[in-house]
Symmetry: C2
Subunit: 390 residues, 2 copies
Amino acid sequence: MVSAKMYELGTKKSTIRTIFEFGRKRAAEVGEENIFDFSLGNPNVPTPDFVRDAAIEILQTYEPAQVHGYTVAPGNPKVRETLAASINQRFGTHFAGKNLFITSGAAAAITICFKALAEEGDEFITFAPYFPEYKVFVESVGAQLKVVKPRPEDWQIDFDDFQKLLSPKTKAVIINSPNNPSGAVYSKETITRLTDILKAQGRDIFLICDEPYRELAYGVEVPYVPNFYDNALVCYSYSKSFSLPGERIGYIVVPDEVADFEKIYGAIAGAARVLTHVNAPSLWQLVVAKCAGKSVDITPYERNGKLLYEGLIAAGFECVKPQGAFYLFPKALEADDYAFCERAKKYDLLLVPGADFGAPGYFRAAYCIKQETIERSLPLFKKLAAEYRG
Amino acid sequence: MVSAKMYELGTKKSTIRTIFEFGRKRAAEVGEENIFDFSLGNPNVPTPDFVRDAAIEILQTYEPAQVHGYTVAPGNPKVRETLAASINQRFGTHFAGKNLFITSGAAAAITICFKALAEEGDEFITFAPYFPEYKVFVESVGAQLKVVKPRPEDWQIDFDDFQKLLSPKTKAVIINSPNNPSGAVYSKETITRLTDILKAQGRDIFLICDEPYRELAYGVEVPYVPNFYDNALVCYSYSKSFSLPGERIGYIVVPDEVADFEKIYGAIAGAARVLTHVNAPSLWQLVVAKCAGKSVDITPYERNGKLLYEGLIAAGFECVKPQGAFYLFPKALEADDYAFCERAKKYDLLLVPGADFGAPGYFRAAYCIKQETIERSLPLFKKLAAEYRG
């Protein structure tokens, strides 16, 4: 009666959802303040005042039809010009408005790219640990996702394994830096080596750069991939940089240098059409243009990351130092990360098993939560570690 | 290199787009005020002040995370409760929040339903004249669209042809009332007869009610289909009722009475997920709940419709009297509606051929434009008609 696949995708409870529901149940039993929920990647730095003020000013001073009317599918032309100029200023690029396609957030941006590019039999490659929706989105456009094994020493790229997975079927490679869940930022060396390998293939392989966390980097540079590689498509979102995840606003950058600009931009328009992203929400298009170049104050995330990292190291955990996003990805204290996360629940520490991200034996701890919660959780992590030492 | 299908869908210029571009070119030559553009279905009644005021109040008084955070995929639970209560009050239904799934407008709503329901080999039926994107959206989910021939005397339903097209492959029937492009509102008799036929099939056939124009009806009742038929899914949008087409906000109603509520609602969630409609824009969810039960003043549309209708009749056109939406669908003055619309261009009258909507020999004139433009166009329609009389 209904599509069995859609029913499965709509109802199979994710691990994070299960953890979330456990957390709600426990909060009702022992009080909200006694639950240490590290499971959710929701920005907790409030939307900046300049975003709110821009929205109010637009609502108060523009003609309603200018604010709330349909825009053309790729987005308001003036907004695209403004955003392109802002990108150019930051990264030394030379984009015009026509190089941008405004989307309803990064999930839409990447899936529109997948749908635009995918042909029968295509493979997409990504790197563990990775955002699990990649698999759902890639498969939904009829392609296959191949996953390069993780490189736990620094969460950069295992190039040997990557080269094994590259094949004539490889249509595109997906990277996510700063990374969810590892918190790693791909270095200039990593990006150079990756793009050198792609260039050496002798055919056009696209590099889809999923960058919702670009602004959240702590003292490290996040290389701008179009400066390294022609066939790069950059997918950006304001969900984290402006703390606007519910408003669904982001964009795709399609540089002039891609293999065939007109073909790719055209296919992106077709994909947005059938995915029924008629246009990105029009008020928010105007708001992000008005706030171009600004972003939230990331020091609360940086402080939280440092606090949790140092606390976990002191408790005896192994963990790569946080570089970006708002996640730590430490080693679990037993090989079975599901069992470890179950045991952590005894202390009301809610953690996500690394296997969910293609990296078993690790766990994700999102630190986009109250500093006080992190402070109060540290003795519990110590107790948990002590339990393992026996 | 890219999906040929997506490229085609993203680049093939639609008739309306071509007309639009002609209009822009002519406006540059002869001045905006000398172009009579009846081609676009954009609401021209401004977004009401109560909508703007609600948005500003929410931005000024709510916690940012409450406004701009992710909502659960089906939408903010309190918003759904409020909208359900408002629907119940208007239509005597008994929906709860769980019966609503908030979407990014009606295009997303209908396509999510198509994707949720479609299985290999399925057929969907709709009625000419019809919104041409139906075909694109139905085919994009792997199903086939069958089109019942038009009934030009009143643009209600040709039931004989409908019964010929019904088959064991029919998964769902799509209706759009008030109708784009005909302006007809399906009467209680039409809905009763349609649902009686569906009930007599002895199996579950869904009735997808695409209702972006529900609020735009002039002195006629628009029957609420769930009161007639159990397997009805109602797709609504605030694009027209609040003049918010660019903000992408609407919903699907899934009544308890559908064949299997849990299966259908679950499949809808899965379809929204793979179409990457993560959640409907969160500010606008709150705004429409705050404005529940209100709508724009439709008298400008009603006045325009009457003015254009009477003017066309006086000029010698044949046309069904407008009942709803903001379109007239008169008979072209020659059998070839494309040739007719080309000839109208000589007078800078921009009209859309009926063949684009599956009803050759007619044309669409959207009257959601300035009253003055309509007034000044009437002598030109007269000249055009005189030309045909020779």
